[in-house]
């Protein structure tokens, strides 16, 4: 098997294959980073909706809570299939990339909402009262007092979840999004040995995920020290 790999390697790492894998890599990165960033934005909105000091509206709070609790309990693959067929059956023209992106956003929002809620709740209630005594409105309190402090707690785990979403995007290969896993499958179908295809892709995933995770852990330590 090894001599087969050695024999194939120059052909596998040829110019066009490298471009092919490079494009797939860019797609994986775009999918996970855009998805995670937008999703985390929505997550904060959900957390704000659920905060009793910010929104008195009970139905909104219940809706946000339901979304967060239920969407975290559906596997990524099932969510992907639901979004995929919902797009298809509604007749909306969307690229496969968009469908996968929507799925990442939907799950990232649910996970980030939980972290953001923990972050907001970590700020003791007297700070809200103190800000109110200083004649701060509730949004100004959130923006000037609570949010800057809660970022310390919220930011590091978000990197961990980003790694999770980079890994989840591999499932998007199931609907045919041209990302790393799909590229590996195509190269494998073209006749390159499985070890070469999937080994290379595993290594690339590792090279994206490991620095991200490492950065999050370092950030956590640095923020904890302050």
């Amino acid at each position: 098997m090894w001599d087969q790999v050695v024999e194939e390697a120059p052909r596998f790492f040829g110019y066009y294959n490298l471009i092919f894998i490079g494009e797939a890599l860019v797609n994986t990165l775009l999918l996970s980073w855009i998805g995670a960033t937008v999703g985390f934005g929505f997550g904060f909105l959900f957390a704000i909706c659920r905060h009793p000091r910010l929104f008195g509206l009970l139905p909104l709070r219940i809706l946000a809570t339901l979304y967060v609790e239920l969407f975290r309990r559906i596997p990524f693959l099932v969510k992907l299939m639901c979004v995929f067929f919902a797009f298809q059956l509604s007749g909306a023209q969307a690229s496969l990339f968009t469908i996968a992106l929507v799925t990442v956003v939907l799950s990232a929002a649910a996970f980030a909402a939980e972290i953001a809620r923990a972050g907001l709740e970590s700020i003791p209630a007297p700070q809200w009262d103190a800000a109110e005594a200083m004649n701060f409105g509730r949004w100004r309190t959130l923006w000037r007092v609570v949010a800057p402090q809660s970022f310390r707690i919220v930011l590091p785990p978000l990197f961990g979840y980003t790694v999770g979403f980079i890994k989840s995007t591999s499932i998007a290969s199931q609907i045919g999004v041209m990302e790393l896993t799909y590229a590996a499958k195509i190269l494998n179908t073209r006749g390159f040995s499985a070890l070469l295809c999937f080994g290379t892709i595993l290594l690339l995933y590792f090279l994206i995920c490991w620095p991200t995770k490492h950065f999050g852990e370092r950030l956590e330590r640095r923020l904890a020290r302050r």
Binding site: C82, V163, I166, K167, S168, F198, L202
Partner: protein, 224 residues
């Protein structure tokens, strides 16, 4: 274009899907317990093992945590046959999930071992506890309190990741959803029902685990 949801065509297949949920639980249990064993051994190696063994365990954990499970299973399923090891889809998925869970459970249990204090062991020795008594009355309650919630959480994650098995044509819940979809062509209905079954399944598991934790270890694991 508007699409009308018709659940009546799918509702007949719900028992079939629920039987798939049973297989999902099985797969989750197998991978969780094998992964737990791997994690336990690894955490012990990290705490007491020689340096090369510790480095090997760290490499294993870092690699498996930072690569997607799907590609790991692809690797096991497509590369091992080249080496002469032919695995059934079920076995490949079970092995992949166990190895993957093993990495996460190593991390979790390492933290649990770290929460144990030397002074407690000394105190137990001073009270004349035997080793078994020390483990049963001192170490276990302490570790259980620190470990039970993250372990329960990992089990729920395991239940959800089993859906990946569908990609390898294992007929668990998601795999059966694919089957029903190709029978009825009511895609949105099938997958929304599947999603609801997953939600119900994980909530039931969370509840059972929370009750078990309270009953066995007096740990307050949260359901939501």
């Amino acid at each position: 274009m508007s699409y009308t949801l018709i659940y009546s065509q799918v509702s007949g297949h719900i028992p079939y899907l629920l039987a798939g949920a049973w297989l999902t639980l099985q797969l989750a249990c197998i991978s969780f317990f094998i992964g737990w064993g791997i994690g336990l051994v690894n955490a012990a190696v990290l705490a007491y093992g020689p340096r090369p063994a510790r480095m090997a365990v760290r490499a294993y954990v870092t690699f498996f945590i930072n690569t997607p499970l799907l590609v790991q299973i692809f690797f096991i399923f497509f590369v091992l046959p080249d080496m002469g090891i032919l695995l059934s889809p079920y076995a490949a998925v079970a092995i992949g999930m166990s190895l993957n869970a093993g990495a996460y459970l190593t991390e979790i249990q390492r933290a649990g071992f770290g929460s144990l204090r030397r002074a407690e062991m000394d105190a137990a020795a001073a009270m004349g506890f035997s080793l078994v008594q020390t483990i049963w009355y001192v170490v276990l309650p302490h570790i259980a309190k620190a470990l039970y919630p993250p372990l329960a959480n990992q089990f729920i994650i395991q239940v959800m990741t089993t859906s990946i098995a569908a990609i390898f044509a294992v007929e668990e819940l998601t795999g059966r959803a694919y089957n029903v979809n190709s029978l009825t062509f009511r895609a949105l209905e099938v997958f929304s029902i599947t999603a609801v079954i997953y939600i119900a399944l994980t909530i039931l598991c969370s509840l059972a685990l929370a009750l078990l934790g309270r009953w066995l270890f007096r740990v307050n694991a949260k359901v939501f």
